[in-house]
């Protein structure tokens, strides 16, 4: 038996998603979804599960992570549902429960370590130098104070702990 959780759609809205009751289940989103062509992911079904408050069922599937945020669905939705924001909000809720993939965790940790999602390796340094660019790009990577500031933001929001 599934146990609907009527508070779930309020939680989605509080995390930056839509009022999922806006969706009238026409299926236009699923019809144009390129990810749905390759996988069992069905956008309309995610919206329906959100409406019914099937929180655990939704957070325990891969479905919400198969979306590339291409916005095709959102452009075509006759109800103007901000579908991508809604999927991202549901992902935020999953992450709060510690449901994260290792590959994503690695990217998130790069942000904590470098202020960027990828590192600066020696090969790229050499390439940059040969192009006449500074070896270290003029970002947080080149300024300790800026990098410390950036770290403070992640500490303040708790992101560093979240992805530990």
């Amino acid at each position: 038996m599934v146990t609907p959780n009527p508070d779930f759609y309020n939680e989605i809205a509080a995390n930056g998603g839509a009022d999922v009751k806006m969706c009238f289940q026409c299926g236009t989103c699923t019809a144009g979804c390129p990810s749905g062509k390759e996988t069992a992911y069905r956008t309309r079904k995610v919206m329906r599960m959100a409406q019914l408050g099937l929180k655990d069922e939704l957070l325990n599937t891969d479905d919400i992570w198969q979306c590339t945020t291409c916005y095709t669905c959102e452009e075509r939705c006759p109800r103007g549902v901000p579908i991508v924001d809604t999927i991202l909000a549901i992902r935020n809720i999953a992450i709060q429960q510690g449901k994260m993939y290792d590959a994503h965790k690695k990217t998130a940790n790069n942000l904590v370590k470098y202020g960027h999602t990828v590192d600066l390796n020696d090969k790229v340094k050499a390439m940059r130098a040969s192009l006449g660019l500074p070896e270290v790009p003029p970002t947080v990577l080149a300024n300790e104070k800026a990098s410390a500031d950036f770290a403070k933001i992640l500490a303040k929001t708790g992101f560093d702990k979240l992805v530990e």
């Binding site: 095709t72 452009e75 991508v84 990217t107 998130a108 202020g115 940059r128 800026a146 303040k156």
Partner: protein, 281 residues
């Protein structure tokens, strides 16, 4: 001379520095002044980082926006991901005073404040709207005759409701920008299909990402394209790195690299050696 704050992001400076270099050179040739947005971080990435924690995403984006605000400059990005994050964050912060206040509470930790005024632009859109196709044509010294697949990606035009750059279902501005060099933008099936790598799908489900990429490559090949021309280093990376495995061999250029070629710059200056699919001009 039009002046902008140049936002580098991650993939261009740290994986395809030739995209950064050619953007600098092409901008100079077109009379656009790019001032480095010093001390900027990752945008942060709209896929993984925004999926993890919206508050972190928007606070870190606001720090980047505030750096540009202090300089009194519009931000220019060369990446759809950076454009998506920074544009969306700027839009939300301009529309929602409560959110802006909350974010400023976080920025206060580092003695910064964001007033909510920074405009975020994509380099391709700046070329089209601020420079103009005719002015670009006048700077082409090495007219091209290649057949090219224009790859828009997703976050350049969408969500169109807030970006309003072009028709997201049937766009033309990148085709026009490509054809300004003399190259021909070839019509093809499913031209607006995503590359597959966004939203954390490349990291989490690489085979799903590759299935998108393969469909794109099949349609590009069928169209007779000799090059793929993108406006996003992340799409660029996906197309460049996955072709060997998928059995394709269509070289990938960022728009700024195509422009570099058409303006007479050498392969060395454009950093084409970093590309995995060899670029033979």
């Amino acid at each position: 001379m039009a002046k902008y704050a140049f936002f580098l992001g991650c993939i261009a400076p740290l994986r395809y520095p030739g995209i950064e270099k050619s953007t600098r050179k092409v901008a100079e040739a077109l009379g656009i002044e790019l001032v480095d947005l010093a001390d900027a971080s990752c945008c942060p990435a709209p896929g993984v980082i925004r999926s993890f924690d919206k508050k972190t995403w928007i606070a870190a984006a606001a720090r980047n926006l505030a750096l540009a605000e202090k300089e009194g400059l519009e931000i220019v990005t060369i990446c759809n991901g950076c454009y998506g994050s920074l544009f969306d964050a700027a839009h939300e912060l301009a529309e929602d005073p409560e959110l802006l206040k909350e974010v400023n509470g976080i920025l206060a930790e580092i003695g910064m404040e964001y007033k909510g005024t920074t405009k975020v632009r994509h380099f391709a859109e700046v070329l089209y709207n601020d420079v103009g196709v005719d002015a670009i044509k006048a700077k082409i010294t090495n007219p091209l005759s290649y057949q090219v697949a224009a790859f828009y990606g997703c976050h350049f035009l969408k969500p169109s409701k807030i970006k309003n750059i072009d028709d997201p279902e049937n766009p033309h501005i990148l085709d026009d920008l490509i054809e300004a060099t003399g190259a021909k933008s070839m019509p093809r099936k499913k031209k607006i299909l995503c590359c597959g790598s966004g939203g954390g799908v490349k990291a989490g489900f690489p085979n799903v990402a590759k299935a998108f990429t393969q469909t794109n490559l099949e349609n590009m090949k069928e169209s007779g394209a000799q090059f793929i021309v993108d406006v996003c280093p992340f799409c660029h990376l996906q197309f460049d790195l996955s072709q060997a495995e998928l059995g394709f061999n269509i070289p990938v250029l960022h728009l700024s690299q195509l422009y570099g070629i058409a303006m007479g710059m050498s392969a060395d200056e454009l950093g084409l050696a970093a590309h995995k699919v060899p670029v033979v001009l």
